[in-house]
Amino acid sequence: MATHHSRSAARLMMAPTVILLLGWMLVPLIMTLYFSFKKYLPLRGGDLGWVGFDNYVRFVTSSSFWPSVATTLFIVGCVLAITVILGILLAMLLDQPMWGQGIVRILVIAPFFVMPTVSALVWKNMFMDPTNGILAHLWRFFGAEPVEWLSQASLQSIVMIVSWQWLPFATLILLTAIQSLDSEQLEASEMDGANHLKRFWYIILPHLGRAITIVVLIQTIFLLSIFAEIFVTTAGAFGTKTLTYLIFQRVLESQNVGLGSAGGVYAIILANLVAIFLMRIVGKNLDT
């Protein structure tokens, strides 16, 4: 696209897509903003007029707001840490030549294809159920009292389920990154006297920097809005109410669209704060 003519032609041809995507984003955003300034109770009188910033004040002053923000950040942070660390280890393991490599790789990626609702139900009923779950059987086999996962360690359980879902994604991206590492670089560092640990620290890890950044950024986008895993397991009880879940409760359980919309705007702000924070930490890896 060198010439002036071809550049303007390119812009013209891209325009429909850009306009469509922009509209797709702007319409819901404007509707959310619109409702957030209204008292709107669908089953209790419908549109009851403008209320200014009332909804915003009520949402923040509610006793469940700050705990829900903390829960959201806790889940996102833990899942990121677990998936990135285990992802790197798994990727290095899968990079080794072994028998049945193809099948093992497909199996590792499999959890990513299971729908969140399904995987949460599988975990809840088959693994974490205090009487019939595999984990309960395991505990009893060793003579221990089975853990009531979803009520006693509810947040940890959800972190575990979500990590299990996202580990394949991290592994896959990190594996491709490891495979792109020039083997001569590793050999050079070997000649330079670096042992396995130092080779990992000085050569492999920096090489993975960009891939880790991508994993962290993409996962954060999706982890901030996890919902199904909470809905089918604890339904927001036992301190597992995230900001997303709180908004859902306000809109559908309390039938208060205005209050929920205000929560939605807070969720946008939170997501942007996290994004700025992350870009500050890891964004420089995307340069050069």
């Binding site: 020039d182 001569e184 050079a188 330079d192 000085y202 050569i203």
Partner: protein
């Protein structure tokens, strides 16, 4: 000290024997070049010496000490890779200092040695750049810098100039030769380019299919190649081979004569022929001549321009002193 001895060293990948057992002696301070066509096992041989590949059988001794089972870092050798293998996320300074850091040297000592190496290699102005911001020749120098700071027993070069353009290659060739003169450290250099081998080596090792065909100084190989393979591989353009009647006159199966050892005339000579393609280099002209009665065309060199063109009649007279004779197995006859 940088003496390397290979005793009955062989290497197989699975069932394929890439290098049948071979013996080789590399003396301290020598510049040894492994040369051969692609896939002849010269890089594998270098990697065996480096310790990046395990030998299948045999023994490698460095300075008289058995090093067969030693890991690469313990052998005291430094290697320059074909792709340079610089660490892209580190500055030039950190790249060069990396082996020193791994060896646990204190920071001041590291800095001193890096500055020193940078001065030798004209890299002082680039120390804080990343490899990605350097040209091919500069990257090559960084790779060399990274290997010299360790003050190794010997340097191993794996086709280090093959990624450079022709002009740079000539410059780097000189620089490496100068470096060798100054450091007087053993260097083992792998290349497929016979010109690099001829210009740089003290000792050339010609390899084919993992077998050492001949070992000797560049001029020895040029003057007395021990078989047809070496004869055709060393020298540019290639030696001409003539079989049959003409060879029988000299009691040989094949005779070989280099393009520069044939006298050219437009009036009289031993062999008469017609000029095919001619290559004009200014200083020299190479004619590809179809000689009557010969199966293949003969390449000859003429000094400068002698005013002959495509299709002209030409007479060639080989200089008999420089004639090489080979038997039916391609081995040299004295």
């Amino acid at each position: 000290m940088g003496q390397i001895n290979l005793k009955k060293v062989s290497k197989s990948f699975g069932n394929v024997e890439v290098i049948p057992p071979l013996d080789l002696e590399i003396n301290d301070g020598e510049f040894v070049v492994f040369v051969g066509p692609s896939g002849c096992g010269k890089s594998t041989l270098l990697r065996l010496i480096a310790g990046l590949e395990d030998v299948t059988s045999g023994e490698i001794a460095i300075d008289g000490q058995d090093a067969t089972g030693l890991p690469p870092a313990k052998r005291g050798l430094a290697m320059v890779f074909q792709s340079y293998a610089l660490y892209p996320h580190m500055s030039v300074r950190k790249n060069i200092a990396f082996p020193l850091k791994m060896a646990g040297l204190p920071v001041e000592e590291r800095n001193r040695r890096v500055e020193e190496a940078a001065k030798v290699l004209n890299l002082t102005d680039y120390l804080d750049r990343r490899p990605g911001q350097l040209s091919g020749g500069q990257r090559q120098r960084v790779a060399i810098g990274r290997s010299i700071v360790r003050e190794p027993e010997a340097f191993l070069f794996d086709e280090p100039l093959s990624n450079l353009d022709a002009a740079l290659r000539m410059g780097m060739r000189l620089e490496i030769s100068e470096l060798h003169k100054r450091l007087e450290t053993t260097m083992v250099y792998v290349t497929h380019d016979q010109i690099e081998a001829m210009t740089m080596a003290d000792k050339i090792v010609v390899l084919q299919a993992g077998v050492i065909e001949q070992v000797g100084s560049p001029l020895e190989l040029y003057k007395r190649p021990c078989n047809k393979f070496v004869a055709s591989f060393i020298g540019s353009p290639k030696m001409n081979f003539v079989e049959g009647e003409e060879a029988a006159k000299h009691d040989a199966h094949t005779i070989g004569i280099r393009p520069e050892h044939i006298a050219v005339s437009s009036e009289e000579g031993l062999w008469a022929g017609k000029i095919g393609v001619s290559e004009h280099l200014g200083s020299d002209t190479f004619f590809h001549v179809a000689v009557e009665g010969f199966a293949e065309s003969i390449t000859v060199r003429a000094d400068g321009e002698i005013g002959l063109e495509y299709g002209d009649q030409i007479y060639l007279t080989p200089k008999l002193d420089n004639l090489h004779k080979f038997d039916a197995d391609g081995l040299r006859i004295e």
